[in-house]
Amino acid sequence: MQFLMPDLGPVMPEIIMTVLTLLILLADLVIKRKETVALLSVFCIAAVVYSLKGSLGTTFNGMFISDGYSIFFKLIFLLNVIMTILISVRYIVIEKINFGEYYALILFSTLGMMIMASAGDLIVLYLGLELMALSTYILAGFIRYDVRSNEAAVKYFLLGAFASAFLLYGTSLIYGLTGSTDLRAIAGYIAEKGLAGNQALLLSMIFFAVAFSFKIAAVPFHMWAPDAYEGAPTSITAYMSVGPKAAGFAVLGRVFLTAFGSLRVEWSVILIPIAILTMGVGNIVAISQTNIKRMLAYSSIAHAGYILLGIIAGTQDGLASVMVYLLIYAFMNIGAFGVIIMLRSENFKGDSLEDYEGLAKTHPVAAALMLVFMFSLTGIPPTAGFIGKFSLFVSAINAGYTGVVIIAVIFSAISAYFYLRVVMLMYMKEPKETVVLSTSPALSLALAVALICVLAIGVAPATLLNFAKFAVAGF
């Protein structure tokens, strides 16, 4: 057996990320000011982003695929992590969790997502997923002295492990059925043997659907999300509501469209009710929330429902719209969490909806930012949220799912109710007590970027759309 050094080009971003993260971990031992660690992390991400450019290709016998699809997703992850780091800098000081490991874990988690996005083999997929998930569990429980954080971590962890078991069971079944774990090989074998109607294959697909639904927090596998989002440190909530979700969609898209491509009819039968339920439960339960983090958790569930439409469409356009939506969602959601974080100060939680009463009077800029993000989440033009929804709806209707889209738009109208309530509280109520904002340059930068992108994409989405279209072209 001859050992040939595999081509490391495609995997270079991951290698750079690993090396730099390890260096950061080491540097953390000597650096007292953790802000420096944050800065280093940002540099690390910048380097990775830079290296993405030349990383196209497949390596490790097809286990690692770096194509437009994965690169786009990696950009989302990296964007997500950079924004998260920016909004974290001040926040983790306030929460008294200002440890260097925080940044290392976030970076490792992102690495896991990047591996997921590029996974061409179920084993790699599983490991990437666990790398991401385990880091996130730790991060969710990072405020160790806080019972809620503990609880969030426990719930997330146990249910996550439970879902992983399902994923593994599905993997084992498909391995038995095809004798392979390589996605393309699986697809080829299924096509070759005409396995599409096989019950065991179906069951395996169901297990995958369940496991991925868990990751993207789709109903009824969403139950962990509200609790984990509420209890986790706010910055991590922001991170979790975008990153793992996006990663979940990345693998969902890849596995379902590649490996289970010939089961399209079957999985769309599963995913359509899941999507509808997800939109329904997410939007409806969000209405009666009193905690804004929890409300955004439900909102995040609902958004997963919308995004599922792109997967259900099952076309390149659909995938492109999923990608576009997730990118936009990253901006607007992290933007919203950025404002929430701003309200958190030493002795003030600032995550109850009541705390937003009269914010427009006391802090007009913060309120205006929140307004834009809320309208974007609702999907009102000229914000980016609308462009995202529009592209999803176009691809879903184009694939013939007009009925589902009608349900989706009605739910998105319902969603206006709770997003607007935040605006209403900020602008139409009188402030009860003066809220002190804890801003920092990093946070301001993150919010500015989010705002500009939300508006810019809303007004001029052409570049992004073309990029997504281009990225997905080789899928």
Binding site: M1, F3, P6, V11, T18, L25, K34, F60, N61, M63, F64, I92, V93, K96, I97, N98, F99, E101, A104, L105, F108, L111, I115, D121, I123, V124, L127, G128, E130, L131, L134, S135, Y137, I138, G141, F142, R144, Y145, Y175, G176, L177, T178, G179, S180, Y189, K193, L195, N198, Q199, A200, L202, L203
Partner: protein, 173 residues
Amino acid sequence: MTMLPQLIFGYFAAVIVLLSLLVITRKNPVHSVMWMLLLFFHIAAMYLFLNAEFIAAIQVIVYAGAILVLFLFVVLLLNLKEELEADRFVGSWPVAVLVSGGIFLGLASVLRSFVIGRQGSFTVELIQKVTHTKTLGLIMYTEYLFPFEIASLILLIAVIGAIVLAKKRMRSH
């Protein structure tokens, strides 16, 4: 004589199921851990039966030796007395019986249409000739080098995580 493998399998299968049930039904967590230890040995034996010596070995070393010990540590940290007085099941257990039973039926019923996939090249003879550990090692460090590296990172985070979550100092300044 031809019945022997089936008989052996029957024994292991019965014991594994029984032990599994014991693990999840014991009130005293220490007992659960102990039954689980026994369960892992039986599973390891079954791996041997399937020509997977290396897997059997790490089943014993990692699972029984490391993971279960970890469990035992934690269990011993707890207040066992209180544990023994409390209910062991949640109120909704009948639902769980139905659901898990249903899932079992589902899993079992699909086996009917199960067909084995494409045959590989690692015949029993080949593995026995080169030894299981070596063949596994060979493909692990060549074909599966990439996942292997990821696994190392996972272990690294496990270390970090355990330290971060369990160390004494809770708050930063």
